[in-house]
Subunit: 297 residues, 2 copies
Amino acid sequence: MSTTTQNSEKTRPTDNLMDGTGLARRLVQQTTEAAADLLRRTGTAPCLATVLVGEDPASVTYVRMKQNRCAGAGIRSRHVALPASVSTAELVDAVAVLSADPDVHGILLQHPVGPHIDERAAFEAIAPEKDVDGVTMHSFAAMGFGLPGFVSCTPGGIMRLLDAYDVDLAGKHAVVVGRSAILGKPVGMLLLGQDATVTYCHSRTSDLPALVREADVVVAAVGRPRLIAGTDVKPGAVVVDAGYNPGNVGDVDFETARERASLITPVPGGVGPMTIAVLLEQTVTAATRQLGLPVGG
Amino acid sequence: MSTTTQNSEKTRPTDNLMDGTGLARRLVQQTTEAAADLLRRTGTAPCLATVLVGEDPASVTYVRMKQNRCAGAGIRSRHVALPASVSTAELVDAVAVLSADPDVHGILLQHPVGPHIDERAAFEAIAPEKDVDGVTMHSFAAMGFGLPGFVSCTPGGIMRLLDAYDVDLAGKHAVVVGRSAILGKPVGMLLLGQDATVTYCHSRTSDLPALVREADVVVAAVGRPRLIAGTDVKPGAVVVDAGYNPGNVGDVDFETARERASLITPVPGGVGPMTIAVLLEQTVTAATRQLGLPVGG
């Protein structure tokens, strides 16, 4: 490769950015149309139940934002607010009531729910067909086995982005940094389902930079600012940054990484907007199925 | 390292072998004692239900072997034989009956069950607390999330072997070759749960030898004779061969690999005996729990 080519690559300002904001907008628009169509055909608008434990300001803000986005897409919200002192049994009961309620099509339990609560038990009270946030064991196994089910929203958003930019994953080495139950682990399973060779890295990984240097696709999902040095990105690699840290900083050193990556998500405006878009889409899908209509029909 | 040392390493014939036969024998002995103890305390012997569809000779042999091993450990068997023509709904019903039967503590559905049957639906009819073969989505997710549950038997046997030989997995790079739902995928999750850095390789992986050369731990679980060249094993690596191919040949070129590995499983006598031992142990554990006694108490 000539110096000229390298320079021209280095100076292109935006043409290797994956535009999550734009893709999410289109997905939300399709979802809004699907919700309207469902209402027209069945007389019922999709309904997402949100469950909030306590009054943590960040959680309150997140839930309100999700409700507002639902409203914008023609999705009704049902809100269940529980005191911070709620017991696991009470929370499980509240979620189970929503699971059994035919007027509720999707359930989102805002987490974390507090250290005294068995969060897993609460998640498992969500009926799989209403698990539009993709947090249940059933949904995880479905992602692992390539079976029908709802995906965790951020992993689902990442896969949508890769697909929208025609990233062929088959045989590629995808390095996932992070192993959380709702992000790292499921996105690795989804990448594996697309025939990528998948490496899970985490806090105990002994030489993270060496593994990143091998990656054709890097998915950073750990929440540590600039953990991944841009100079470790292999030239031509695809970089997906699902980290979101104070000061709009991702898990990847963006400015350096973008000079080497063939495609890279900005922070913000990359993965973030896709998460809520997938939540809305899955809520309408859940409603469509529960109302007995074919999805996409 | 001196030539003398190398020679002495090369000529040691068996001291780097992981003795699955011996470890399995001890595990079965403990399980037999636990089953006898349970019978003494509750008047009930553990019971494993085996479900066989059709009369495939290999499947018939496997089921009979498992029943014999159960009998040897003081575990009762209940056998359900269904014709090859059974429908998915009929098979699901038969499994559901066993799931609801308090006299049955564990359920093993011999697979494959035939191409016309939805095997996943049949597996999912197994109650999680009776899934002693570790095949349900619930069990997979439990392995993925590090939650209580039954493990898939071969992955569980592999982890027992690694533990018995004091292999510290934290920070080690474990390369899993194969991604089946009952072997590759769950063993990767269990290794990740022990803080290994885990890479899943498979048929679409573009440069398997290069990844094997990096591995501190190799788990071969694909069923292709000598797919992994011994010369690709990193000196000092731990090699677990879960492959079992005609002619007692594993997935690893054993003779060459054993000269380089710090520990290696033979085929046969490595992983194989552990699988049935874990099945028996989990059956007694399931019975103990269902009879209301503390496990290991």
